[in-house]
C-alpha cells in the first residue's frame, strides 16, 4: 500500500514536472476552461445581482394592493373611495402621529436618457403619498432633501444617477410640459426603489391628468401574518372585491423571476456548450501528454510500476490544469464584472438598475464546472496511460 502511494506520488510529480514541455497546449486548455467559467459566472453574477435588487425591495410586512390580475403596477387601477376604505382595514401599522401607514401611489413611465447608449429609456415616476417613505423600510435621503408637498419637486434614486443623464441634484427635468426640480437623492438599501423617481402624488396626478386615479396602495402591516386578515377584509367588502393584497416580497419575487429565468436559460446552456469545446481541448491536451510520455510510462511499467500510478498521474495533471483555469476564470470574472452597474427593462416595463454580484457560492459553481471538464477530459487519456502495453510503448508506438 505504502509503495503504491509512493509510486503514485512519484509518477504524479513526473507528470507535473514535464508540463513545461507542453506549455502552449496546456496553456490553451487552461485558457479555454477559464473562458467557459467567465461566461458562466458573468451570467450568474448578472442574474444574482438582478435578483438581489428586487429581493431586497420586498418586505414581508409591507402589503401591495393591486387590482386583481394586474401583473405589475402600471396595469393596476384603484379608485379614491377604495383607498379610503383600505385605510380602515385591520392589521395596518400606525405611524408616530397615529395615522395609518398607507400610501396610495401612481406609477407612470417617463423618458430618461440612458447614459451608455444615449437613447431614450423608460423610467418610473412614482407619485407617493405622505406616508410613502415611512411605509417602506430603510429609505434615507443621502443628498439634498425630500420633495415639499404640493411642489413640482422630485427625489431621485441613487442607482439612476449611474445609468442616466441629467438627473443630478439641482437639475431641472422636463416630462412633457411639466418641469421638475431634483431636490434630493435617496438610498433604499440597494433595492429596486433606487431605480425610481419619486414626487408628490397630487402634483403627479394633476400634471399627468390622472386626477383621482391611483394604481397601487402600499400599507405597512403590524406583522407579516396580518396579510391574511387584510385580504379577508378586501374579499368581504363588495366595493373592494376586485382588489388583491400581496406581500411586497412575493410581488417582487414574481417580477424578478421572469427576468432571472431568462438570464439563467441563457447562461447555463451557453456555458455548457462552451464546456464541450473546452472538453475537446482538454482531451486533446491529455492524449498528447500521454503520447509524449509513451516511452516514459512504458519504462516505468517495465521496472515494476503499476497501471494505477500512471492513471492517477495523468488524471491529476488534467484536474490541475482545469482547476487553474477555473480559479483564473472566477478571479477574472470577479475583477471585471463584480459590482458592474447595468440596467435592463424589468417586469413593470421600466428600467431596473442593478449591479453584477459574484458570490463565493457562484464562484464554486464555476470551479465545479471546470473540474468536471478536467475530470472527463482526463479520465479517458488516463485509462489509455494505465493500459499501455509495455512492449509497444518501449518501441515508441
Amino acid at each position: 500500500m505504502r509503495s503504491l502511494l509512493l509510486q503514485i506520488t512519484a509518477v504524479t510529480a513526473m507528470n507535473l514536472k514535464s508540463l513545461p514541455k507542453r506549455f502552449w497546449l496546456s496553456l490553451s486548455t487552461v485558457v479555454a476552461v477559464a473562458l467557459v467559467v467567465v461566461v458562466l459566472l458573468a451570467f450568474l453574477a448578472m442574474q444574482n445581482g438582478f435578483q438581489h435588487t428586487l429581493d431586497s425591495a420586498g418586505a414581508k410586512d409591507v402589503a401591495v394592493i393591486l387590482r386583481g390580475g394586474s401583473q405589475s403596477e402600471v396595469a393596476s387601477v384603484i379608485a379614491r373611495d377604495q383607498v379610503r376604505l383600505i385605510e380602515e382595514a385591520p392589521g395596518i401599522a400606525k405611524g408616530s402621529d397615529g395615522k395609518p401607514l398607507v400610501s396610495a401611489e401612481l406609477y407612470l413611465v417617463v423618458d430618461g436618457i440612458k447614459h451608455s447608449s444615449q437613447t431614450k429609456a423608460n423610467l418610473p415616476l412614482r407619485g407617493i403619498g405622505q406616508e410613502g417613505a415611512a411605509v417602506r423600510k430603510g429609505i434615507t435621503i443621502t443628498a439634498g432633501r425630500m420633495f415639499a408637498p404640493g411642489s413640482n419637486e422630485i427625489v431621485v434614486g441613487k442607482a439612476l444617477l449611474k445609468e442616466f443623464d441629467g438627473l443630478e441634484l439641482g437639475q431641472t427635468v422636463t416630462f412633457g410640459t411639466g418641469r421638475w426640480k431634483v431636490v434630493g437623492v435617496f438610498e433604499a438599501a440597494g433595492s429596486v426603489f433606487e431605480s425610481e423617481i419619486w414626487a408628490d402624488l397630487p402634483v403627479v396626478q394633476s400634471f399627468f391628468k390622472r386626477d383621482n386615479v391611483f394604481q397601487t396602495v402600499r400599507v405597512r402591516l403590524v406583522n407579516p401574518a396580518a396579510l391574511a386578515g387584510l385580504q379577508r377584509y378586501l374579499d368581504t367588502d363588495p366595493r373592494l372585491k376586485e382588489l388583491e393584497a400581496k406581500s411586497e416580497a412575493a410581488y417582487f419575487a414574481e417580477q424578478a423571476s421572469r427576468t432571472t429565468d431568462l438570464i439563467q436559460k441563457l447562461g447555463w446552456p451557453l456555458a455548457i456548450a462552451m464546456a464541450f469545446g473546452a472538453l475537446a481541448g482538454a482531451l486533446n491536451t491529455m492524449y498528447s501528454s500521454v503520447a509524449a510520455r509513451t516511452t516514459e510510462i512504458a519504462t516505468l511499467r517495465a521496472i515494476g510500476f503499476g497501471g494505477l500510478p500512471a492513471f492517477v498521474g495523468t488524471l491529476t495533471e488534467s484536474l490541475l490544469l482545469a482547476l487553474i483555469g477555473g480559479v483564473l476564470g472566477a478571479a477574472a470574472t470577479f475583477l471585471t464584472f463584480n459590482g458592474l452597474s447595468a440596467a435592463t427593462l424589468g417586469a413593470s416595463f421600466t428600467q431596473v438598475v442593478f449591479s453584477f454580484k459574484l458570490t463565493p457560492a457562484l464562484a464554486a459553481e464555476g470551479v465545479s464546472l471546470a473540474l468536471i471538464v478536467g475530470l472527463v477530459g482526463g479520465i479517458f487519456p488516463s485509462i489509455r496511460a494505465a493500459r499501455m502495453p509495455i512492449l509497444a510503448g518501449l518501441y515508441g508506438r
Partner: protein, 386 residues
C-alpha cells in the same frame, strides 16, 4: 494522388485528434450561429422598418396616450401620405405567461400603411373592415396557437378592462396574413379600434401612437418638426422619429445585447483559436521527417504550404459548417418555444456568409505558422531532426 486527398489523409491520420478539433470548432460556430441569429431577430425591426415611416408618440414616454383628435390633425399635414394609429393591448392568451403581441388599429388606414409589408387577401381585408370583433392574425401566431379563420378566441389584456369588469375580449379570426418578405415578423395580431374604444372602461378616445408614411424620406425631418411644433405646449406634446430610430431605442432598453453576444462569441473563438492552433502546430511538427521526404521527392515549398494550409482550412470548414448546421437545427427546435414577444429567428444568409468568412479566416490564421514553418523547412534539417 491529388492535393485534396493528401490533405484529407493527413488530417484524419489521427482520427481522434481530428474529431476533437472538429468538435471544438463546431461548438464555437454553433454558438456563433445561434447567438448571431437571436441578435439579428431582436434587431430585425430596425432593418424591416421602411425609411419613410415615422412614429409619433407622447413626448413624456411612448406608453403615455395621445388624444384621437391628433390623428386627423396629423393627416392634414403636407407631405404626410398615409396615417394610422395603433394602441398596445398588452395581450395574453389563457395564461399571463403566454404574452402575445396584440395591437388595436384602425383597419382601413392600418392596411394602407403596412400594405407593402403584409400580404392580406382581399376577402380578409373586407371582413376585417366590416366585422366589429374581427381580428387579423399573423401566420406565425396562428400556427403557434392553431387558430384558423372563423375561430373565436378570447384574448385578455394585462393593461385594460372592459366596462363590464372583464379584462378579456372576444375575437373572431377573420383573416391570416403573411409577410411579403421572409424577415417580416408575423407573430402578432391586430383588431379594430372602434370595438376596443366602445368597450374599454377607461381612457376613451385615447390612442397609443401614430404611424405615418411621408411622400419621400427626404421630407421626414420637415414633417417630424411640423408635427412636434404643432402640438408643442399642448397637454399632450409629441415626439416624432423614424420607426427605425424608435425600435432601435426600444431594443437598447434591454441592455447592450450586441455587446453580450460579441463577448460570448469572442470567448468561444479565442478558445478554439488557441486549442486548434496549438494542435495543428504540434501535428505538423510531428510530421517534420515526412515533409522532408515529400520535399526530396520534388514537392515545391509552395505546394507544401498549400497542403498544410489546406488541412487547417479543411478542419475549419468541416467543423464550422457542421456547427452552423447544428445552429439551424437548434433554432428550428426552439423557435416555437421561445417567449411570444421575440420576433422570428432565422439564420439569415448574412450570418451564414459571415460564418463562412470566419471559417476561412480561422483556417488561415491557425494554419499559417505551421504552414510557413513547413514551407521553409530544409530537407537536410528535416531528415536529420529527430
Amino acid at each position: 494522388m491529388t492535393n485534396f486527398m493528401l490533405i484529407r489523409k493527413n488530417l484524419f491520420r489521427h482520427k481522434l485528434r481530428a474529431s476533437l478539433m472538429i468538435v471544438c470548432i463546431l461548438t464555437a460556430f454553433a454558438i456563433f450561429g445561434v447567438l448571431g441569429s437571436i441578435e439579428h431577430a431582436i434587431n430585425a425591426g430596425q432593418d424591416v422598418a421602411a425609411a419613410d415611416r415615422l412614429v409619433v408618440v407622447n413626448k413624456i414616454n411612448f406608453t403615455q396616450p395621445l388624444p384621437i383628435a391628433y390623428f386627423d390633425r396629423v393627416r392634414a399635414i403636407e407631405g404626410v401620405q398615409q396615417v394610422t394609429h395603433v394602441n398596445w393591448f398588452g395581450g395574453y392568451y389563457q395564461d399571463p405567461k403566454n404574452s402575445l403581441i396584440v395591437m388595436v388599429v384602425d383597419p382601413t388606414t392600418y392596411m394602407e400603411v403596412y400594405g407593402n409589408e403584409l400580404d392580406i387577401s382581399s376577402a380578409a381585408r373586407q371582413s376585417f373592415i366590416r366585422e366589429r370583433t374581427g381580428a387579423l392574425v399573423g401566420d406565425a401566431m396562428a400556427k403557434k396557437w392553431g387558430w384558423k379563420v372563423g375561430d373565436h378566441v378570447p384574448i385578455a389584456s394585462s393593461i385594460f378592462t372592459q366596462k363590464n369588469g372583464s379584462s378579456s375580449w372576444d375575437f373572431t379570426v377573420v383573416g391570416i396574413f403573411t409577410g411579403k418578405k421572409p424577415e417580416v415578423d408575423t407573430n402578432f395580431m391586430v383588431f379594430q379600434y372602434d370595438y376596443f374604444n366602445e368597450t374599454r372602461a377607461l381612457g376613451k378616445d385615447q390612442i397609443g401612437w401614430i404611424t405615418l408614411r411621408t411622400a419621400s424620406p427626404a421630407l421626414n425631418d420637415r414633417v417630424a418638426r411640423t408635427i412636434d411644433q404643432m402640438f408643442a405646449n399642448s397637454p399632450y406634446e409629441t415626439a416624432t422619429d423614424t420607426e427605425k430610430a424608435f425600435s432601435k431605442a426600444f431594443v437598447a432598453q434591454f441592455g447592450n445585447i450586441a455587446l453580450i453576444v460579441e463577448l460570448v462569441v469572442g470567448a468561444a473563438f479565442v478558445t478554439i483559436l488557441m486549442i486548434v492552433g496549438n494542435t495543428l502546430m504540434m501535428s505538423v511538427r510531428e510530421r517534420t521527417r515526412e515533409i522532408g521526404v515529400l520535399k526530396s521527392l520534388g514537392f515545391s515549398g509552395g505546394r507544401i504550404l498549400r497542403l498544410v494550409l489546406g488541412e487547417s482550412i479543411l478542419v475549419a470548414l468541416t467543423g464550422g459548417l457542421a456547427g452552423l448546421g447544428l445552429a439551424v437545427l437548434f433554432i428550428l427546435a426552439i423557435r416555437d418555444n421561445v417567449g411570444g414577444l421575440l420576433p422570428k429567428i432565422i439564420l439569415s444568409p448574412e450570418i451564414a456568409l459571415l460564418g463562412l468568412a470566419l471559417m476561412l479566416g480561422f483556417g488561415i490564421v491557425t494554419g499559417l505558422v505551421p504552414a510557413l514553418n513547413a514551407m521553409r523547412l530544409r530537407i537536410a534539417v528535416a531528415l536529420g531532426r529527430n
